[in-house]
């Protein structure tokens, strides 16, 4: 009787094991393809960090010139983590309006202050340069926001400023805002190749 039962069981299992295995295999295949695809881009992009280390209000050691005696030191590029997070660039956009950066820089086109959406950078286009600009201030009218804007918000602003000239990845850069639009959204802005420019005349 056991033989019969066992035989019956294998018979039943023989009915559709191949199909089921193939079905599961193809399902796993589909899932892994999608995972690979999205893993590449989404992991960092969607991070939202609400708590950050206490603000130090210190800016980075940056050099303002490419000319130097002897050999150049090892470059110390600074990564701005906000550059890869869509939430942060969006916050940067909000803060840009709310902290009234538009008061001098308007919506990136400049006026009282220099434009931020073009390729010309007076004090450098790297994150650490822009960070210093905001925290230290600059001669010719850029106020210092030391003690006024916490570190993580400065990072968000830095990321946003870089997005205005298209330096960020398209899927991280902010999209259009819900007010009157002065220009294309940062997501659709073509990347400008940064170059150094001299300070404005006195």
């Amino acid at each position: 009787m056991f033989k019969k039962k066992f035989h019956a069981k294998t018979q039943r299992h023989k009915e559709k094991p191949f199909e089921t295995r193939q079905r599961l295999a193809s399902l796993r295949l589909c899932v892994s393809i999608f995972l690979c695809f999205l893993c590449l881009t989404s992991c960092k992009r969607e991070q939202r960090q609400f708590s950050s280390p206490p603000s130090t209000f210190k800016s980075y050691d940056v050099t303002m010139s490419d000319i130097h005696p002897g050999s150049p030191g090892m470059p110390q590029p600074v990564q701005n983590p906000s550059d890869q997070r869509a939430f942060d660039t969006n916050e940067g956009k909000r803060l840009f309006t709310q902290y009234n950066c538009s008061g001098c820089h308007f919506n990136g086109g400049g006026g009282i202050g220099p434009p931020l959406m073009d390729e010309k950078w007076i004090y450098g286009e790297n994150p650490e340069n822009i960070y210093s600009t905001i925290v230290e201030g600059r001669p010719n009218g850029m106020p210092s926001f030391r003690q006024k804007i916490p570190d993580n918000q400065v990072q968000q602003l830095v990321a946003y400023v870089r997005s205005m000239s298209g330096q960020l990845r398209k899927d991280v850069a902010p999209t259009r805002n819900d007010s009157m639009n002065a220009r294309r959204s940062e997501q659709r802005t073509e990347r400008e190749t940064p170059r150094r420019s001299s300070p404005p005349p006195q």
Binding site: R48, F50, S51, S55, T56, Q98, Q147, K148, P150, D178
Partner: protein, 346 residues
């Protein structure tokens, strides 16, 4: 000391809030109406509830009675009936038709009751010349602006609305960012605050007391902690409160408070908060000119005490993660004096 007494008062207010809530009719309860709007709605509710309950019970009885003619056979084998006796079918048809007719009549009654309740709720809107308040919803707090024909009586506060008892108040509802919804169940139904549109609602409190409301349209990360208080008080008390709110901020008296004001003006606070009478004029965050006169902070979700205020300033993200107020890095001494200053802003 005044500080301790105010703290105690605030704790007492919060505790009585708790006690009220745990009783059957809480201060956040639609079926505990304390104003004409909510009373109207409560009456309508009871009409619907009673009629619907009766209908439900009757239908359930009919259903259960239909089960009496049953068999417990393990196999479904009873011969099916294609042509039941005509007499019985006719009786059943009459019952069904009567039931449908009664349904239609009940629905008509509901419709008329609902329509007339709705009319009486909105009919007053055009005639109100009582108090006008402009409420703007932000992520995740309420900006409250008291309007007046006399410009010197206009002031802005946040999250806590005082109204005089027995006076109709008209709210103009605006939104600064996303859709919110203004809802104080004891007083009225809700209305949405939609960007690009102005919505209007009027309500009235017939009894003094504190009525809690909460944002009722999902508005993002901290929708859950976007509450507000409506404090209804007798006319004289309200006038006194209003008079106080139109004043500029209290000048810091003690050294500690003066230092606190300096801390406020030289650190991140000044970027978002306004205190009338000081250089701080930003309207991104709630107006703090009279913050100490409010019972709660963090959009009516935290009792306004020294400890809570200090914790909130240092790390609001721990309590309300994702809210727009950043964490702050202040020394203990700075923090203490800042809190002293803020608690002096009655």
């Amino acid at each position: 000391m005044i500080e301790t007494r105010n703290t105690t008062l605030k704790i007492c207010a919060a505790l009585s809030f708790v006690l009220c809530c745990t009783s059957c009719g809480g201060i956040h309860n639609a079926l505990n109406p304390t104003g004409p709007q909510a009373q109207n709605l409560s009456r309508l509710w009871w009409l619907f509830f009673i009629v619907c309950s009766v209908v439900f019970v009757l239908v359930m009885i009919a259903l259960l009675l239909s089960l009496r003619n049953r068999t417990g056979e393990p196999q479904v084998a009873t011969a099916p009936v294609i042509e039941p006796p005509a007499e019985q079918e006719r009786k059943r048809r009459n019952v069904v038709i009567s039931a449908v007719t009664i349904t239609v009549i009940i629905l008509f009654v509901f419709l008329i009751a609902s329509y007339s309740a709705g009319r009486s709720m909105t009919a007053e809107l055009e005639h109100k010349n009582g108090l006008n308040i402009e409420l703007t919803g932000h992520q995740w707090w309420w900006e409250v602006r008291y309007d007046d024909v006399d410009a010197s009586n206009i002031f802005t506060t946040a999250n806590e609305i005082h109204i005089p008892v027995g006076v109709p108040v008209t709210f103009s509802l605006k939104a600064a960012d996303v859709i919110h919804s203004f809802w104080v169940p004891n007083l009225a139904g809700k209305k949405d605050l939609i960007p690009g549109k102005i919505n209007t609602i009027w309500l009235q409190a017939d009894k003094p007391g504190v009525y809690r409301g909460q944002c009722a349209e999902y508005c993002g990360l901290q929708h859950a902690r976007m509450a507000l208080w409506i404090v209804a008080e007798p006319q004289e008390q309200f006038n006194a409160w209003r008079q106080n709110q139109t004043q500029t901020s209290v000048t810091p008296a003690s050294d500690s408070q003066k230092r606190g004001q300096q801390v406020f003006l030289t650190s991140t606070c000044v970027m978002c908060h306004a205190i009338n009478g000081t250089p701080a004029g930003s309207n991104i965050g709630p107006n703090l000119t009279h913050v100490a006169s409010r019972n709660m902070i963090a959009a009516a979700t935290v009792v306004n005490t020294r400890e809570h205020l200090a914790q909130w300033i240092i790390d609001s993200q721990q309590y309300k993660p994702g809210n727009k107020m950043p964490q702050n890095n202040l020394s203990d001494a700075d923090l203490q004096s800042l809190v002293e200053y803020l608690q002096s802003l009655k």
